[in-house]
Symmetry: D2
Subunit: 127 residues, 4 copies
């Protein structure tokens, strides 16, 4: 399965980049853009960007194992510290790939390597 992050208008809107894609293990990168800021003059990424990045990374981690797109059942994000400008890197790992449900864990780090958020998401793998 080819992971083409550019096929989504929303991915292009925020400037998402695929760093590495192996079955069950995905790394995405999101460089800072002023449009992604939380507030005017703030150098924090908006929380909505953080959760979107986690959902997308987790989805690819499961999709790369089952060979097709997988709808998100539910998404959970814990915000640990502000996500400062620079870039964000999301590493997602498939924890379970069952017949009906897949679960992925995602770690999101800032340019300095600090863990800014963690995510856990369930996806439907039922064909």
């Amino acid at each position: 399965m080819e992971l083409d992050v550019d096929r989504s208008p929303f991915h292009r809107l925020i400037g998402l980049e695929l760093v590495q894609g192996d079955p069950g293990l995905i790394e995405l990168r999101l460089p800072w853009r002023d449009e992604l800021g939380r507030a005017d003059g703030s150098d924090w990424f908006h929380g909505g960007v953080v959760s979107a990045l986690i959902d997308i990374a987790g989805d690819y981690a499961i999709a790369s194992r089952v060979g097709r797109a997988v709808p998100t059942i539910d998404l959970r994000v814990d915000y640990l510290r502000p996500a400062r400008r620079g870039e964000l890197r999301a590493v997602a790992r498939a924890v379970k790939v069952g017949r009906t449900v897949g679960v992925a864990d995602v770690e999101l780090r800032d340019a300095g390597g600090a863990l800014v958020a963690i995510g856990r998401c369930a996806y439907s793998t039922a064909g």
Copy 2:
């Protein structure tokens, strides 16, 4: 506290609008734009837009009660059905506003009124 959704570059990027803002009860609206699509040619909103909208609405529901911005502790989104083009409306309601934690419930509906996602979020209310 004035709720000015336009003060955030990310809100302007996606085109977020405030419909109604009362203490503890917020309604947001997000009209369809092609840039918010899940995939080229798809008429579904991207899941990252859905989760962002839920986080923002819940945040305002709590912030409007405590009178200042509140950082998100964690966010949970259940996707019930595809969010089709038209518009999305998020209604957020404060369930609890404690001294250290606030909890909000959010319902997201499409243009036809169908419930497409539900969210529950915890926010830090500790000054």
Copy 3:
């Protein structure tokens, strides 16, 4: 489908009672027992009792719609205030019953009617 809460050793251990069971809407009751306390001398129910009650109620709400037992995919519980002795009542409602996933919302109240915890759970409905 008959809902027989007594067929589970764990339900008998904690003293769970079915108050009402309609398809998609379940009410359970758990009277106080000293063995369910958080700490010696405390008059609070242990948090593990609260989460168990929420999972069980949500499960029945979905099972009563699909006509068979449903495995829990994931469980989320928000603790709003201490659950004081007396009794706990859990009301669970099916929010979605799809072909592969069901989602239930649960409200847990104490003897005085105060909302002490809310839960949201996903269950596998794939036969």
Copy 4:
């Protein structure tokens, strides 16, 4: 801070044991008892036992860092496979210990070492 799991009536009811307790890293053990079964004749632990064990382990992981009991803000459990009789071991690790919120990750394994459930919990660390 002394971690005395026996001071809770509910812990004694289910037979919880502390294996190891270091600041921010806790291991608990729960041996099989017929009373903890999902259904008569089943050799699976009840899901309510699994979620209770995860909440307790995560709580101790944070409490052992802040030096006092910490109320659970919210609990999330993903069930990966049935938890078969034998014993359950929960290893909890503090991911964040902030001024107002602590987050713990918990892995639950069966007697064979298989991962049966994972949990993530937020606790209030505000004095």
